[in-house]
């Protein structure tokens, strides 16, 4: 029986995430001073309209800064974020070693109509990178609840030239059909639950003059992301997210040449500044 339990590195990431979430919550409180006259949570069932300056009051239809929240940008406007993604390597692959090199994460979105928008994303660790483009349809269900559906296509590529160790390169194509559900708790705090299927469309790897290629489309796994977007300090907004991917292949670990034909768990911590 092989069961490794909660990896220590993952608990570290969770701790960092919770600390960041706490800081963010503090920032949120600074933006919205406590209102002693605000109704207690138990009275919310009454559904009385909240005063406009209440921290939980929202303005219907207003777009808040966010990358994950399923709401299209204003047509013709851009949304951008830059941050880092930490991926914990599965023990099945790296055994007793945990490699945790953060990837720089740059996101770009542009509204093309009231409900449609395009997305772009670049993830890079210098020796390996991932570039994706996609399209999404988003619409509100209520003032607070939003949904979206979309599809992203990603190209990843990596090259390792290390004396006496690697003379290898690889690239591939992956597709991510996705759906998101977002809930706006206050005017400035929004949470998103995103589900993605991961499809492998193409893979090519080369060591020296030897090459292998796979071009069949196959199901590779799925991923669930929980992201919170809210102010941090000085009205700057941030994304804090956890992505749990169960997949057969992860592009960031291409150089390990994983041979397991089963889904492995890749937890990711996402942190981004919304520009």
């Amino acid at each position: 029986m092989i069961f490794y339990g909660l990896p220590i590195r993952l608990t570290t990431l969770l701790t960092i995430w919770l600390l960041a979430a706490g800081l963010s919550a503090q920032g949120q409180r600074r933006l919205a001073p406590a209102d002693s006259t605000a109704p207690r949570p138990s009275t919310r069932r009454v559904r009385q309209p909240l005063p406009a300056d209440h921290p939980r009051a929202i303005e219907p239809g207003v777009r808040r800064p966010g990358i994950y929240f399923p709401q299209a940008p204003i047509p013709g406007r851009w949304r951008k974020s830059i941050g880092v993604v930490f991926t914990t390597t599965p023990p099945e692959l790296t055994e007793e070693i945990r490699v945790n090199v953060p990837a720089i994460d740059f996101n770009l979105q542009r509204g093309i109509s009231k409900n449609w928008f395009i997305t772009g994303r670049i993830l890079t660790q210098v020796v390996q990178s991932n570039v994706g483009v996609g399209v999404r349809y988003a619409r509100p269900l209520t003032d607070r609840l939003f949904i979206s559906a979309g599809d992203d296509m990603h190209i990843w590529f990596g090259a390792l030239q290390i004396k006496d160790v690697f003379n290898s390169q690889a690239y591939g194509l992956q597709n991510f059909p996705n759906v998101s559900v977002g809930y706006r708790f206050t005017r400035d705090v929004q949470m998103t639950l995103k589900g993605e299927a991961i499809l492998d469309a193409y893979y090519k790897s080369q060591v020296g003059n030897l090459t292998i290629e796979r071009n069949a489309i196959r199901y590779n796994g799925l991923a669930v992301t929980v992201a919170i977007e809210q102010p941090l300090y000085d009205k700057k907004h941030v994304t804090l997210g956890l992505r749990a991917a169960y997949s057969n292949f992860n592009w960031q670990l291409w150089s390990l040449y994983d041979t397991f034909d089963r889904n492995l768990f890749y937890p990711q911590l996402i942190f981004g500044f919304i520009l």
């Binding site: 290898s168 003059n209 292998i212």
Partner: protein
């Protein structure tokens, strides 16, 4: 952010972690380990060895497989096993069934990349003028061997048909199929743990002609087999011990620690004694996982080379040098003659210490110029540790290496023996 939402996220993460699937692949077959080959005489076994075309069962095991007999010595006697190596990272491990009237074998099949496993029962027949009848040991011109029977999934009684028809003999080109960590990784759910005596006995049934083992020292200076830097649940059963294995005495490890499948951590001497006494393996690669004098390992190497020679065995035991530290330890040996070594570093270092074998990483590619140069100097060249099946095929088909070290010896065996 409200605390309740943090709790919600925590619950989600816990739920995701809790949903992790536990992987195991218990072997559904109990081997009798009877000595002798029963009705499978030497001539019959030799006639069965070969490359076969699969008809019934090709969707499961591929269009072509390799059948090869191996044996394990048990004292003065010998147990025989028939292995089948498939193109989809699988193997069969079967033993003769003496209770049946004809030539029958039974055992299990396994695919190493996941948890697929099942029972298999086969008989050996001959096709003569279109008619199939039980094989009695004599092949006439135009006869074709047909090994057929049934297989199943898990421990259920097998019912699915499997038919394998002899196509050609095994590729006879000399080539070393080297099994990593004595046979394969514990994480591939093999029936025995990596670097155990039990998996050394099993290595040839997995396709290996040689093995690589990892040598470390206990606190009291006993060389043992263990791969990782620390005691951890990847390799051992839960016992409360942790930290570097070098901090424990041999007695502590022998008493308190069991490998994942329940075996003891063997000493280097127990491992080599097993190779000499119980196996037909022709090569042992002692990987250097320690930083201390190499004298003791050198002494053990010499002892077991002499024992193998006395037993009439053609066995090579080499000390692997994976790092500059290991090369320095080797250079510090006062007497280096008759100490075969394998160098994993570049060709200039290999030449400078006059290592018999050069073994670069497979991720450097074909390295044709270097391989040709080293072979021209009379050295053997291996590549390590190559598990990707398609690259294994490429290395066998397109390079001039003398052997491949792999966690999937069955894949290397399949592509080597089936090469035309």
């Amino acid at each position: 952010m409200n605390t309740r939402y943090l709790v919600l996220v925590g619950l989600l993460v816990t739920l995701l972690m809790g949903c992790r699937k536990e992987y195991e692949a218990p072997v559904p077959y109990n081997f009798s380990n009877l000595t002798g080959s029963g009705k499978f005489s030497t001539a019959i076994r030799q006639s069965i060895n070969g490359v076969y075309t699969v008809t019934d069962g090709s969707d499961k095991f591929g269009a072509q497989v390799v059948l090869r007999w191996t044996y394990t010595h048990t004292g003065a006697d010998t147990s025989h096993h028939l292995s089948v190596f498939t193109s989809n990272v699988g193997y069969f491990d079967m033993e003769p069934q003496p209770q049946t009237g004809g030539l029958a074998v039974g055992g299990y099949w396994r695919r190493l990349q996941d948890t697929e496993i099942g029972l298999v029962q086969l008989t050996v027949n001959v096709r003569r003028s279109g008619a199939v009848s039980p094989f009695t040991g004599r092949l006439s011109t135009g006869d074709t061997l047909v090994v057929s029977g049934v297989y199943g999934d898990g421990d259920v009684t097998p019912t699915k048909r499997l038919t394998m028809t002899y196509a050609r003999p095994l590729n006879a080109r000399p080539f070393s199929v080297l099994a990593h960590r004595s046979g394969g990784r514990t994480s591939d759910l093999l029936p025995a743990s990596e670097n155990s005596v039990e998996i050394i006995k099993m290595a040839s049934r997995l396709g290996a002609t040689g093995i690589e083992i990892d040598v470390r020292y206990t606190k009291d200076g006993v060389p043992i087999l263990y791969h990782d830097n620390t005691l951890n649940l990847r390799l051992i059963q839960k016992n409360g011990l942790a930290g570097p294995i070098e901090e424990y005495t041999y007695q502590q490890l022998n008493t308190l620690v069991r490998l994942v499948n329940g075996e003891r951590i063997p000493t280097l001497e127990e491992a080599l004694q097993t190779v000499v006494d119980n196996t037909d393996l022709s090569f042992v690669w002692l990987d250097t996982k320690y930083v201390r004098s190499m004298t003791q390992v050198q002494s053990i190497q010499r002892t077991y080379l002499q024992r193998a020679k006395a037993a009439g065995r053609s066995l090579q035991i080499v000390i692997g040098l994976p790092s500059d530290d290991a090369v320095s330890l080797y250079r510090d040996l006062p007497e280096k003659s008759n100490t075969p070594v394998l160098c994993e570093l570049d060709t200039s270092i290999t030449r400078s210490i006059n290592a018999n074998i050069w073994a670069p990483r497979w991720t450097l590619g074909d390295q044709t110029a270097e391989v040709n140069a080293m072979k021209a100097e009379g050295r053997t060249v291996f590549v390590w540790t190559l598990d990707e099946p398609q690259f294994i095929r490429e290395f066998i088909d397109q390079t001039r290496f003398d052997g491949i070290l792999s966690n999937y010896a069955c894949v290397v065996a399949y592509y080597h023996y089936s090469q035309q």
